[in-house]
Symmetry: C2
Subunit: 356 residues, 2 copies
Amino acid sequence: MTGPVPLDLTADPIDLTAALVDVPSVSRDEQRLADELEAALRAQAPHLEVQRCGQALLARTNLGRERRVLLAGHIDTVPIADNVPSRREGDLLYGCGSSDMKAGDAVFAHLAVTLTEPRYDLTLVLYDCEEIEAAANGLGRIEREHRDWLEADLALLGEPTNGVVEAGCQGTLRVEITVRGRRAHSARSWLGENAVHAAGEVLRRLSEHKAREVDIDGCLYREGLQAVGIRGGVAGNVVPDECVVVVNFRFAPDRSAEAAEAYVREVFAGFEVELVDVSPGALPGLDRPAAEEFLAATGATPTAKYGWTDVSRFAALGIPALNYGPGDPNLAHTREEHVDTKLITATTEALRAFLS
Amino acid sequence: MTGPVPLDLTADPIDLTAALVDVPSVSRDEQRLADELEAALRAQAPHLEVQRCGQALLARTNLGRERRVLLAGHIDTVPIADNVPSRREGDLLYGCGSSDMKAGDAVFAHLAVTLTEPRYDLTLVLYDCEEIEAAANGLGRIEREHRDWLEADLALLGEPTNGVVEAGCQGTLRVEITVRGRRAHSARSWLGENAVHAAGEVLRRLSEHKAREVDIDGCLYREGLQAVGIRGGVAGNVVPDECVVVVNFRFAPDRSAEAAEAYVREVFAGFEVELVDVSPGALPGLDRPAAEEFLAATGATPTAKYGWTDVSRFAALGIPALNYGPGDPNLAHTREEHVDTKLITATTEALRAFLS
């Protein structure tokens, strides 16, 4: 079922961004937008092989080029905060998903549809469920069901970077540190051992921890070791016998997930440490030919990506991957989310130069 | 509505304890037991003036004695844990409320009913809703509605003390200490200030705090300053901007509630401290004549009461009050709750000697 006006992927990417924002696509509710994208791709890009996968769309050229560039963007958004439909104010385009990352989707889809003779073979991946738990991520599903569609020499993700190239990404892990004591009535506290008091040592080590900074391929990565939660207490008159500190470690991509876990265990030696989840980082991979050509063509200076993004999924497949999108990462998930339309045009032109 | 066999308050207090346990009386659900007690008091103790107050029973002699002794016990219990009806195993009587404090109720009711010519005027107070929030406490309601019934020269509460006399009680207060920081994405933690890390200083002061011990009227009171809860955290990827430590201060009765609060504020100087609740302690009052006579008659050596009990309600009225009951305080509120029947007999005899 399509909306009143079919999507025009050949339109100016600014107008296309607005059109994409105007079709709500909160995570798990992307079907209408996926249907409209599929219809538009099949109608407007006969040079592309198109494959539907759940609420994701895959489209590619098969020109036999020496190298292949993959352009990927998620089409889902966080819940709408009274910010749909889109609206323009001067150079700014407001709306849910405008920045994260329908502007990136618009640039990528526009180029894939309009560049019928690109310098590289192109693969377009527009996927669902990126904003929710990792198990639902559409890119993960594509990897399981259509692994061959992800082959590429360079992957660009349209995540908001203010038009800057962000390389690699840091890894992240969480541990729960459980401090145990002995429960007692607080009126007879000398019979107990207060686990919350004992957790003070965990907090002391966190406070005194010096986060490492490391330069990789010219990108500076700053690590961080932070308590993101603490809980303890049985009742208002009981000496608590357990206190749990949840710690998040953001680690530079020169550490493997295993090495990062070992490091955290070393910092909290003597405490009970349980790994809750871990996502490996991704090395920048800027020394690969396709990445070098991209940087040369766009004239960009790459910086380190601090947040975890799907870039690391490509890294795990051995594909250099970069974040490059017109959105503003600081506006993602906010009620005031917007995108600077000048950056939409600028990234479109830079990418067109690279791909033509 | 009475049970199949009417309560016999003149029976051996051991059997009476079992009979009281067999009438369930979880807090707010005491009506059946109160009805049975009222019927029994009116039928079996014509020498007593009886007054019903909600689900509490008041009964007293009016003999014109020089002094009056008040015997008080709550008739409610914590929720039943598969431990009703009562059962005997050798010298032990098991069941919900057996220790806390139907054994004490049985001793007091038995003596009030059987001592028709006591040495002191006697007041019996059997009240409801002691095990739940203070606002529901039946003794508080009696104080508001029947203040004259609480006049006495000595009050004995039948709370479980293993047959030992526990004098006075410590006060208790709780504060919430809020530590603030600045929220940030944990991937860019240097943009934030971690409130959980900063709470480490609160825990350090708690760990290093030396609790005071003080001797009052021969009773040693040990204070305690304990974290009873801690909470903080926004999400697994956010530097928390707030951490709250809940601290419980159990203070000796030579400190007023105000002085105790001031002390806690001094310990946590520099932090945001909010008083959540406070209950003053009660001085032992062992130098009053009726208390001295009680100790002489029973030959007991008083010890300090650490927990907060309704003793302090009497203390606030200027009435010396002691805890004295056959139950075991360590078994209160447990599934295995029981009372040593030898202590039921011993406390009955000691009190009978004092009151006859």
